[in-house]
Subunit: 292 residues, 2 copies
Amino acid sequence: MFEQLGVIGCGLMGGSFALALKERGLVRRVVGYSKSPSTTALARELGVIDDTADSALSAMSGSDIVLMAVPVAATEATFKAIKPLVDPQVLLMDVGSTKRDVVDAARRVLRERVGAFVPAHPIAGKESAGVQHADAQLYHRCQVILTPLPQTEPELLKKARDVWTAVGASVVSMAPEQHDAAFAAVSHLPHLLAYAYYNAVSQQPNGAEFLALAGPGFRDFTRIAASDPTVWRDIFSANREELLKQSQRFRHALEAFELALKTGNLPATEALIRSAAEGRSQWHIHNPGSRR
Amino acid sequence: MFEQLGVIGCGLMGGSFALALKERGLVRRVVGYSKSPSTTALARELGVIDDTADSALSAMSGSDIVLMAVPVAATEATFKAIKPLVDPQVLLMDVGSTKRDVVDAARRVLRERVGAFVPAHPIAGKESAGVQHADAQLYHRCQVILTPLPQTEPELLKKARDVWTAVGASVVSMAPEQHDAAFAAVSHLPHLLAYAYYNAVSQQPNGAEFLALAGPGFRDFTRIAASDPTVWRDIFSANREELLKQSQRFRHALEAFELALKTGNLPATEALIRSAAEGRSQWHIHNPGSRR
């Protein structure tokens, strides 16, 4: 049980965390800060937060748990703003989709206090952003990756595991580098491919006519191509080395298909397809009970 | 109203067409043939067909409407088998996902009778194949592409439009070449990319660990990578020229992203993402009332 949650960045992720803790009686009071006062006002109106703070630092004040849910590009500035109140008595976490850059910023800014920060990445989200879509169940049955540093306080790490578990998530720990390599492969690359594919189709001479014929397979394949441009610009940029490595692996896999097609090699084409189809048929999303 | 529907290939597509016509009272009797006698028996047991035929030719006999719903690779052999009964009094259609190869086979085999064949491609399907998944609503709100030849009997073309409209589909006509170019872009290429992507991820050293972390975006992006290997081997092979052209366009679009990332050009990265994201946000599947 926490006394006060400070939410820095009252969007979908921060707002959902606040609602999840409130719904389960895990916190007495929630104080929120957002860069835009109208967002903070809306969060309060919706009952997501109980009180508004006029700065990131004042959202820290009096809080024993703080969630930084700001765009990745704003992480370093946020660390600078809150540094005076960073303390091993307060569980401070983020929700960023990349972790090496966040950890680097934490080391640079927080220095000897870096052990009070527990880097976190909940694998959850919705197509629709904003506090108006905040949902107490967003983290239920999702995975949360924690990427602790050697200096991370063991007690804070335990508290972090406990609070995510309490809201229904399953918690995995790994090194920041390992996290970024994995998510380059299973999340950032699919976004890159979906964006590139949509551009390739829409920008050809008959693109508009073609798009009018597209069906359910296209719809699902391109759903992530509607994801927020500034968020994904920053993720791509923060993780570009791993992303470019994965993109190269992908191009090799595509070239294997192209070669089989160009040479009319039906058994090779089928073997490549079969390898993917059998793997994908057996794959299940980690979340128990969710759609495949 | 038709007297007798002959279904050649009692799978998901053929079975759903039979159920759709029956449900709407558009046919008195359905006769079905499948290569595997157990499939035909199951179709009869399920009430999808009323009688079994022991050959494709005998499914034609006495029918005034015939749907060939066989794998694309079996199209030419099927035309040969049924040729003696191909007649402008009978509406003969297929459901193939590629059309140039089907039309070529029809020209080669049916020769002067080719005008009795109306090539059709209903943009419908399910992940689960087989007559046990046949569904009277499968074609409701889907698009059906007809690719008539200059010789196609106008009256048969009209009947084809009418019957697909009657089962709830909307009908579009175009040349076979135009069809294959469009579907290379909006259907065949996404399948190719999804298969290649799944192989690239799963075949790397930490692939299995990475896949265990994948979330909802990955799930939707790779759903089509579970599609049937022999069906898609044949589609890729039948349409490989257009598919390879589209794959090249895609590689150019991907290279534009890679260049922006390698040079750390954030505005260019964002512009590429924004172009796709804005397009995809405005795109709607043709089917009215369905999910985006």
